[in-house]
Every structure is written in structure tokens, then in C-alpha cells.
Assembly symmetry: C2
Homo-oligomer: 336 residues x 2
């Protein structure tokens, strides 16, 4: 029996399996510490396309096709696809998954979208709405800079609090077919707004939301940080991490020893100079597929709380003076 | 028992109820044929805000508060909120629903978003993931023109195939509490692309997707158009309707006598000159709340197939030469 827990969480009775996953990444990511773990990388970041947007769509399609291929699955057996990205009107997803012809739900949760997609995929499988669901997200440095900041040719300087959008896409096949990783529960996030307005310091904007979701998850499931081998946020980066650990500490939870952030993991801080770390929908997604899931599959980590974090803003909203609130969704992953 | 039907549909065992709804609309909509049916209208379309984006957020919040109020419900009893809009990064929704502090899933399905939100709300209630879910969408003429087309001050001419973005928001409370309308099934849409590239003729771009979803619904549930008192599309408008009826006719289904389109219903074609009709996420949502649901509540219509339609594009995608594919989700509404 699926059970609702506390105010925001669901515990699955027959927990859906994370059957297979795949990730596609760009050249800078390929040079980083996780470089050898990606399923596909590309040297010019265009993936054979003519525009950054098309390149991002291509990554999504390739990630989906690879994840399906690893499970020897045809797209027609996937009941619903849940996907999204950072671009206006989620265009990378629409154009990316179109060819697969899977009935689809388009999502927008900023960089928390991989959590949102995994939550809805697991909820749909656990409810019996189909045997297989596909969750996919992406981001691309080129398309994100064009969307949110300045054309690359301007060579604008970036503040030290800025993060570097990851070029990458991760796709996840969720279903009833057995594997060594189950999604045993989810905690759906609320929008948390501390009034911060600096879109170039997204780690600070998102840290309160990450703390809120982690604290709610611990409360809803009656757990402490030690109940998890790792608590892994999406893309808080170096500044966001220190704020998150402060928040947790003030709420009586020490978790420095078991906290990881995908944005701090994906690039080499010494050699790659990304300032605050990596970010983007793709950051958490490719790190989950390339680095986190293999450790859970092997049983090195028995239970992980995966918490992708999103900064809710648009170029229009911050130019009009609106704050940048955050949202984070929690996914409980367990070895089996 | 919930049952999956055919390739894309779900039939709910204990069908969720559409408990209450509310709609907020702008001045042009107030002057139209449904004008007297809206819960709230505003004369300057700014709803007390300083920008079109903030105005759209205000509409969403007001629609949610009114829908909750009609059911004498506090926001804290709503388990999850499903919402989206047309703006980049779904900012109208993030800023609009933030104050309600309901755990939320951000969606993007272009003008099909009301269908997407209703489908996920019903799926969540039917799965036992909570007693109450809120579905909300909006669009605003001012923010949409700014987002997709030209600043209003340019007074650009619009082609006759163009539709007029509805200023409006509709919110729907879905749950287990009895009412006279149930969501008995859903058909989740696929992306359908006939290669059309004219973003100023969205009716033509979306009509194939509407036909695909309606045909799939009829097949999945073993029904014919006469099984429904009305089949109601979101915002195909005059051009899209004629294409849809042709498609249906070629597939052996005559449905001219029972087809309605919200985009043709919301404005007076003689007096208000919107060219192809109304469009936008808000179009189907406010028409559902103001005009369709009361008729189902009273039993005038026993069973309705509600099919919001979306054109998947961004200003970047069509300027880069991409086609404008469509998507449509089908919601089966029944009197009880």
C-alpha cells in the first residue's frame, strides 16, 4: 500500500525500480572528475546540430534512447514520459522527445526538474498507471547563457558566486521490472522565498528550499541524517552548501559528513575554475546517472536522499525586481 | 480499481470529483459572451500590479483563493498543486502560487496545460496520494504579446489566422469530496508534428494533435463521438476547428453537431474581432470553469470530453526555423 507521510511525502508500498539510466555530456564535463563515467560525450558541444537549442534536444533524445537501449526496451512500451529543461517554453524537451512518440507531460521546475520528473514517474508506476515511465531533463551551457545571461561572444565577467551551467542530459527508466535501485519515497517541495534577488548567486537562493525539503523529509519519514548514507543536493555549489549546512545545524542536524552536491562534484574546482560550481537541470541528472546510481547499485550506499534544487526566475522576473525563490524535491533511493 | 486503457488512457475506479473551480478574467473577456459568468474581472487588466507578469500571477493567486473559498477549504489541506502558464520559465505560476505554500509541480504544456494539470491532479487523487489537489493555469494578453510577439506599442498588424491570447486564469479543486462532476478518465497526449511552421496560425498547428488525442480516447474507451454530449477543444479557433472536423470526418467520425471550441466561445466574433478566436492557457481554463462545468453540474450535459490543445514553440525555436508541433490532453468529465 502506498502511504502518504506527514505533510508532503509519499512512501511507496511496492516501490518502483530505477531500471536503467543514461547520460550524455559536453566537453568541459568530459574533462572533469566524472568524465570517464558518461555514456556519451561530444567535443564541440553541438552534437551534430546547428544551434545550442537543437544540440540540447539532441542530448535529450540520445539520453532517452541510451537508457531504453540499456534495458533492451522499445519506446513504445513506455507509458508516459515526464521531462523538462531550463529554456523558455521547455523547447529543448518538446523538440528532443518528439520522435520517441511517448505520451508526455512537460515539466518546469528549474534545476529541480530531475527530481520532479523522477517523483511523477515513480508516483505513476506505483499507482499502476503503466509498467514503464521515462524521466528526462537537460541543460546546455550555450543555450542557458543565451537564455539567461549574455551572448558568449561578449566575454562578460562572471561574479565568484555564479555557477556554470552543465551541458548534459540524463534519462531514467522507472518501472516494475527488477533492478538494484528502488525509489521508495518522495518529498514534494514547496516554494521557499527568503527575498534574495541575486540571480548570479543561485546557491544562496536555493539553499533554504533544499533545507526545507530535507527537514520535511526527515520529519515525514521519522528519520535523521544518519538514516541516509548520503544526502545529495542538485546544484547548490560551494556557497549554497555552506548555507545549507548552517540551516541544518541550526535545526539540530549535522550532515557535513554525508552531504554531497552534484554541482561541486561534476567539475574540478582547482583546474576548471567554474567559480561556485556546476548548475542546470543536467547537473543533477548526469551526476545521478554516472556517479550516484552505480554506487547504490553496488550496495556501497544503501539509502540516499537525492534533492535536486531549482531557482525560480526568468530574465523578465529579475529585471522587473522580483526575488528568486527556490524549490527542491526529495527522492529516496535504496539499494535492493 | 484504476485501469489503464489502450495505449494512452486511464479509467479511474473511484473517479475523483471536481469539487470547485473559479475563474478570473480581463476586460475584453468581460465584454464577451461569457462575461457575466466569470468570478472576478478587472478593468485595466493589471489587477493592481505594476507589470503584466505580476498581473498574471495575481490572477492565478486569486483564482486559487476563490476556488478554495467556494469549497470552504484552507490551502493547507491541499496536498499538491499542479500549475503552469505560457511565460518563459513558468514565472507567472511560480510567483502566483508561492504565497499558498502548497507543495507544487510546475508544468509546461503550452495551451494544453489545463488538461495536463487536471490529468495529474486526478491521477494523484485516484492513486490515494492526497485528499485534495489544485490545478491552475493562466495566460495574459499583455505578457504573452511581450513574450512571443511584439510590444503592444508597435501596433503590429495581425494576420487573419492569428488568435487573441485570453487574459484569464482558472483554478480547479480535485478530490474525494463529493460534487456533481467527476473526472472519470484521462487520455495523455503525444506530440504531433505535421511540419507546420507558422506560429501565427496555431489552430492549424494544433488541430492534428487534437484529432490524435480524440481518436485515441474514442479507441481506448471503445466510444464514438455520440458517447459524449460535447467534445470541447481548448483554443483551435475557426481555422483549427475546420481542420479538426476534416480529420475526424476522414477517420469516419462526424462530430460537427457536438464540437465546441473554447477559443470560439469566449469572444464575440462579430463584435470583438479577434480574427481566429481566443487562445492561451487561460482560454480553456476559464471557459471550463465559467461555462462548461455549470452545465455538467446541472446535468444538462452528462458526459463531456475536454481537450485543451497546445502549440509547442518558443520565440527562439520558430526564429531558428523549427516547426510548431502540437499536443492535446483529453479529460473525461461526467455528471453525477
Amino acid at each position: 500500500m502506498n502511504q502518504i507521510r506527514g505533510s508532503q511525502s509519499i512512501s511507496f508500498g511496492e516501490a518502483p525500480y530505477l531500471i536503467s539510466s543514461a547520460c550524455v555530456a559536453g566537453s568541459k564535463e568530459a574533462e572533469g572528475p566524472l568524465g570517464k563515467l558518461f555514456d556519451m560525450v561530444n567535443q564541440d558541444d553541438l552534437f551534430g546540430a546547428k544551434t545550442w537549442e537543437e544540440a540540447e534536444s539532441t542530448m535529450q533524445k540520445e539520453a532517452c534512447v541510451l537508457a531504453l537501449g540499456k534495458a533492451h526496451m522499445d519506446a513504445k512500451h513506455v507509458r508516459y514520459l515526464y521531462g523538462g529543461d531550463l529554456l523558455r517554453q521547455g523547447i529543448a524537451t518538446s523538440m528532443g522527445v518528439e520522435e520517441l512518440q511517448i505520451p508526455m507531460f512537460g515539466l518546469y521546475g528549474a534545476c529541480s526538474t530531475s527530481g520532479e520528473a523522477l517523483a511523477l514517474s515513480a508516483m505513476s508506476v506505483a499507482a499502476g498507471y503503466g509498467e514503464y515511465m521515462l524521466a528526462v531533463t537537460s541543460s546546455h551551457f550555450g543555450s542557458a547563457e543565451k537564455e539567461f545571461r549574455f551572448p558568449l561572444g561578449y566575454a562578460s565577467q562572471r561574479p565568484l558566486s555564479a555557477s556554470w551551467t552543465v551541458t548534459g542530459s540524463g534519462a531514467f527508466l522507472v518501472g516494475r521490472q527488477k533492478s538494484h535501485v528502488r525509489i521508495t519515497g518522495v518529498t514534494v517541495g514547496k516554494i521557499v522565498d527568503y527575498g534574495l534577488k541575486d540571480s548570479q548567486n543561485m546557491g544562496a537562493c536555493m539553499a533554504p528550499a533544499a533545507a526545507d525539503t530535507i527537514l520535511t523529509n526527515l520529519k515525514d519519514f521519522g528519520r535523521s541524517p544518519t538514516s541516509y548514507d548520503r544526502i545529495i543536493t542538485g546544484d547548490l555549489g560551494y556557497i549554497g552548501q555552506s548555507i545549507l549546512l548552517d540551516f541544518m545545524s541550526k535545526n539540530g542536524h549535522q550532515m557535513r559528513d554525508r552531504h554531497l552536491d552534484c554541482g561541486m562534484k561534476i567539475f574540478d574546482q582547482e583546474k576548471q575554475d567554474t567559480h561556485a560550481g556546476g548548475s542546470g537541470c543536467g547537473c543533477a541528472a548526469v551526476t545521478l546517472s554516472a556517479y550516484i546510481l552505480p554506487k547504490i547499485q553496488k550496495g556501497e550506499w544503501k539509502r540516499v536522499l537525492f534533492v535536486p534544487t531549482g531557482a525560480l526566475m526568468s530574465t523578465v522576473s529579475y529585471n522587473e525586481g522580483a526575488s528568486v525563490p527556490g524549490i527542491a524535491h526529495g527522492i529516496v533511493l535504496e539499494h535492493c
